[in-house]
Amino acid sequence: MTDDATSRIDSTVKGNDVVLFMKGTPLFPQCGFSSRAVAILEHLGVAYESVDVLQDQGVRQGIKEYSDWPTIPQLYVKGEFVGGSDIMMEMYESGELGQLLKDQGVATAQ
């Protein structure tokens, strides 16, 4: 991992309330798991920053080391790693994800 990629990841994670690292874009996800993550955030009606890791090999590798998490997508809220799409789905279904966003002072539509 280059220090450059790490610092770009770090500033994106810390500079935005909600960040989704994904394959593709919210409009054109390139992987089923990323697509699922986008759908969850859209359902919650939360504003989020997305990063397409397919556009940046340094970030694609670096993000896995940054969070010690081997897969993409990855969700961050207020600088903290929340999980991948399985954890997002579980937390969404149980209401925990909405609650976490609320507790962190992030506006949602619900």
């Binding site: 089923g32 798991f33 896995k64 010690d68 081997p70 999980g83 399985d86 579980e90």
Partner: protein, 77 residues
């Protein structure tokens, strides 16, 4: 080269001996799995840490040869 379900189960059991493991081959192609892992050793750990323990058991295969593993973790009821 995809992984066989038995291989996934063996690796998880080696690292988490008390685990109750249920693996489903989602697409029948040996490449898209769902796994449910229940272990007393998960108690008190946040979900991210529980999943990280399973990923660690797979020794780097997750995200590599093993592309798709939908993971659910839990403690025994």
């Amino acid at each position: 080269m995809p992984m066989a379900a038995e291989e996934i189960e063996t690796m998880i059991r080696a690292a988490i001996p008390d685990a109750e493991i249920e693996i489903t081959d989602l697409a029948g192609d040996g490449d898209h799995y769902a796994a449910r892992v229940v272990s007393e050793t998960f108690r008190g750990l946040p979900r991210v840490r529980q999943h990280q323990r399973v990923y660690a058991a797979l020794e780097g295969r997750m995200g590599g040869v093993l592309h798709a593993l939908q993971l659910t973790t839990a403690c025994p009821q």
